[in-house]
Structure formats: C-alpha cells, structure tokens
Symmetry: C2
Subunit: 337 residues, 2 copies
C-alpha cells in the first residue's frame, strides 16, 4: 500500500515503499505520461515494428533510470520540464538494452510478459531495439545538446564492454571468475548506466562541476549496490524454487557476486564439487555451499557499503532533494523486485 | 586496372572504373586513413568486442556512403577536413547495419570473410553493432551538430521500417509482393541511407537550402538505382550458379524487383508454377519466367531512369564536382560488385 504520509521523515521509515511514495508517484506519473505522449505521436508503418519497440515499455517497469534523471536535475534546482523529454529518451534507451539483453540471454519473460524476440521474432526485435536507440538519440539531439549525445555514447561503450566481459566469464577459469573481474564487469554493465542517468540529470539542471562530480559518484555507487542486490535476489529466487532452469540461468548467463564469493571461499578440495553442482544445477548442494561461506550476507555487506558510499557522496553540497536521493540508496538495498 | 588518365572527360569513358580513378582513390585513401586512425586510437577491453566491431571494416568494402559524404561536402565547396570524422562515423554506422543485416538474414560471408555473428557469435555481434552505432553518434556529437544527430536518427527510423516491411514480404500475398510495396521498401531501406549520406555532406559543407534539396534528391534517386542494380546482380549470380542455396537466399531474404516483375507479368494460370519454382529453388524454371517477362531488362530500365533522375537533380546549380557525381550515378548502374 502506498504511504499516505508525505513528510521527509517518512522516507526514512519506509524505504521499501519508496516507489509508492506520493513524491515519487507524482514524478513517475509525469514520466509515464511523457512516454505515452511520445508513443502516441508515432503513427508510422509497419505497425508491428512500433508495437515491438513499445511492447516492454507498455508492460511497466520501475522507470528507475528516468526517475534518476529527473531527481538529479531537481537536485541542482533544474526545471523538471527541461528534463522530461530526456527522461523519455533514457527509458527508450534502457528498453533497447533490455530487448538486446533478452536476445543474448535467450530469456522468455520480462516484466511479466513475453520478451520482444519471443513475441515478434529475433529479426524484428533487433530492428526494434535499433529504432529505440535512434529515437533516444533523436530526443537527445532535439532537447539535449552535443555533450549529452557524447555522454550517452561513452556510457554505451562501457556498457557494451561490460556485457561482453560478462559473456567471457567462465567458472572454470579462476581469473575470469574472480571478484575483481566481477566488479570490473558490473562497474561497466550496471554502474555506468546509473552514472549516465544521474549525470544527464545534473547536466540538464546546469549543475556546477562540484555538484556534477558528487552526483556522478552517487549514481555510480548506487548502480553497484543495485546490481549486487540483484544478484542476491537471483539467489533468493533460486533458493525458493526447485526448477533446474533457474539455476542454469544463473550461472550460464550472468556473473553473480554470491556465487563467485562461495567458490572463492570454499576449500580447494571442494571446488570441483561446487563447479559440478553449478554446472548440473544441483540446487541443494549449491545452497549448502552458499550458506557455509555466508555468501548472501557477504554480498549484502558489500551492497550496503556501496549504498553508504552513494549517500556519502552527496554530503556537504545541500542538494534540493537530498533526503529522497538517500532514501533511494536505501531502497535499492531492500527492494524485492 | 586503375585508369591513369585524370581528366574529367575520362569519367565519362570509364564509369566501370569509377572507384579506381585517381580522384576517387585519393579520397578513399583519406577516408581509410581516417578510419584506421579511429580504430588505432581505441585500446579498450575486452579486445574481442573491438575486433568484432572492426572485423568487417578491416575486410574492405566500397566505402560508398562515406565517399558520398565527402563528395557532397566538396560539391558545395565545403572543406574536406571538416567532413572526414563524419565520413568515419558514416562508415561505422553502415558497418553496424551490415552486422545486423547478416544476423537477420543468417548470412555467413560478407566482403569475402566470415560475417561477424559467424566468427564471434550472435551475442558479441549484437553488442559490437551497438558499440559501432554509439561510436558513430559520438563522432556526430563531437564533430557534427544536433541537426546531424537528428538527421541520422530519422534516417535510422526509415531504414528500420524498410527492413521490417521487407521481412513481412510474402510471395503468396499479392499485396505485399507488389512493385508498389517493393518501391516503398527500398525507398526506406536503401534510398534513405544514400540520402542520409549526401545530406550530411551538404550540411557539413554549409549548403544553401536549394543546394541541399537538389543533393538530397540526387542521393535518394542514386540509392534507388543502386538497390535495383543490386537486385539484378543477385539474379545474374543466381543464373551463373547451380546451387539451390543462392536462389533460396534470393526469395526468402529480400525483395527483388526482377522477381516481383516476373510474377506480376506471368499469365495468371502459371503463377502457381512460378511460386513453386521460387519456393523449391528450381532455377531453370525461374530463369525461363524471368526471360519470358524480360524481368532483368525491365529492372535495368527502371534503374537507368532513377540514375537519370539523380543526374537531373543536380542540373543548374553548378556544383564544384558535378561531373564526378554524374559519373557515380553512371557507375552504380554498371557495377559488377
């Protein structure tokens, strides 16, 4: 249930309900309405291309990155109106990434609906993702400036690198299956996309260099915390299910901090057993390894430390909505979806 | 053999050697050297991502679109140096399109080498294409201006639409397998990408509105001629080969003007036989239908008419290198590759 209490104090007391809070809901409504306007303005053919492009956007989503654009623009007292078209662009770009990720991971369900390539075929999915990226750049070129265009492009460089580095991970190659490599991957894959969103907001709000630096650091650390919490949620889901598929998803498709921690911490003579459990999808064995090595606790400690650093980054600069940004850093840690 | 004769007259006498002419070779060398500088400046990890991204660029190619950027910038007396980074961007973007096309068409060979998804896997190919598009936009954002960013984005819209419309073509659905639909597809799929290149060159060269309009029309008509000649080359290749595979490529993967013409012109009671030949890859039957309906001649007439219109579009505005642009319009008609 959304909280009815609108006071700043309330943020501290219910970070789990962060997205449902009136202050946030109002912003999400503006973002969603701007997205719908953009979608409705489009009436080109073939219809199926545009349906495929907007399929996942219409299915919902947390809109976390566009919310970050808006909140960080407001943080430096920029005008919300200036940021909205770029919020839309950010969401379009994020959706394109998801379409591509789903093709790469061969995922079938996203946001409770069929993934785009499952519903429309891989060919149309690839073209729909390309269209969304072009639409995002169009909005950046129309409502942003060349600096924003370059900022987006450089972030895509890092994100592509992170995704390829993740594809190269192999549990049997200790160097690739290490915490260092994992952190280097999520720095680029996830943290870069959060950093992108906050930086865009700061640039749009005409932040000072000092403010921009602090906000960028906040976004980066927030992204690290978000991704590690994501890994923990994958483990929790796996633990609650008995299906082999979800485990095989886990180790084949993405790097997971808890799994890497468990492999690193388990006695050398048990590693073969661990790798075997990972490969064959023996959930019980895997869970026992994760528990023995306190893998989830360890992951959460790291996520908490990043969340703390995110909040720290904002100190001393009197951002307009500092409490909200701090609350968001708390929310990513305890979110269940 | 490249022609040694550098006079303007020579252009008229050897359009087949157009790309080998000294004037063109000099420009292609500058473009290729700019591309190599851009590639060498990049030293990021994972190496395999960048190898995959540059695989097709390093394999060669006609560089026709970047050449058009340069020539159209020079046509309005713009400076070549201003256009070079954008030539590189255009080539990067073109390569990204080819990588995506090859995934969609499941092609295995391009420019005499393995396609990117065959050599590096579809996952890395998708990410490499995304990287190249981001690099192209980066260069547009650094050396171009917001208008160029929007121009590129709108062209991508049209190109994606054209490609999806082509995926929806079905010989058994007469409405989709019509000349009108074919022309609507290649207008967006190919002509839009040629129009994009010439428009970019004109904008970079600070063309007047009148000049820009004429050059845009030239590029558009040139693209139409180019694509129809491409279709004819596909037919010629198929006719010279006995492999079923090449025929199945032909009708499954792309719209072909000559095939559509032959189906439309053949007697109604023979259409089932025609469609059957198309589906089963019966080359002899198909060739006899193409010959009976003068399909290749008809296609070439249409291509010639577009090439003529391209040259016409340039008249009366005294472009600096009008003869070269006219020769290019002659070249696309008789090219064998």
């Amino acid at each position: 249930m959304p909280s009815k209490n609108n006071s700043a104090r309330d943020y501290f007391h219910s970070p789990a309900n962060f997205l449902k809070h009136t202050v946030i809901q109002k912003r999400l409504e503006r973002i969603n309405s701007a997205i719908q306007q953009e979608i409705l303005a489009e009436s080109a053919e073939p219809k199926i291309l545009y349906e495929a492009a907007y399929h996942l956007i219409n299915a919902g989503g947390k809109r976390l990155r566009s919310l970050l654009v808006l909140l960080c623009c407001e943080a430096v007292r920029g005008r919300c109106e200036n940021a909205l078209p770029i919020c839309v662009a950010t969401e379009l770009f994020q959706t394109a990434s998801l379409i591509q990720d789903d093709i790469i991971d061969q995922d079938t369900i996203r946001r409770g609906v069929s993934t785009v390539h499952m519903k429309y075929g891989t060919e149309i999915a690839i073209l729909a993702a390309g269209l969304l990226i072009a639409k995002a750049y169009y909005l950046f070129g129309k409502f942003g400036n060349p600096k924003l265009v370059r900022t987006l492009s450089l972030a895509i460089h890092r994100m592509s690198e992170g995704e390829v580095a993740e594809l190269l991970i192999n549990p049997k190659n200790p160097q690739s299956f290490s915490k260092n490599n994992y952190l280097s991957i999520i720095r680029r894959k996830t943290a870069a996309s959060f950093e992108l969103a906050v930086k865009i907001g700061a640039i749009l709000g005409k932040a000072s260099q000092k403010q921009k630096k602090a906000i960028s650091k906040y976004g980066f650390k927030l992204g690290m915390a978000f991704q590690i919490r994501d890994d923990v949620l994958d483990i929790t889901m796996m633990n609650g299910q008995s299906s082999k598929a979800s485990l095989s998803d886990l180790h084949l498709k993405r790097a997971n901090y808890a799994i890497i921690h468990a492999l690193q911490e388990c006695p050398i003579n048990e590693r073969i057993q661990f790798l075997n459990a990972l490969e064959k999808g023996k959930i019980k064995t895997l869970v026992s390894f994760l528990e023995k090595t306190s893998a989830v606790e360890n992951a959460m400690q790291l996520a908490e430390s990043y969340s703390f650093q995110a909040k720290q980054a904002l100190q001393g600069l009197k951002f307009a909505n500092q409490k909200i940004l701090e609350q968001l850093a708390a929310f990513v840690l305890i979110r269940e979806f």
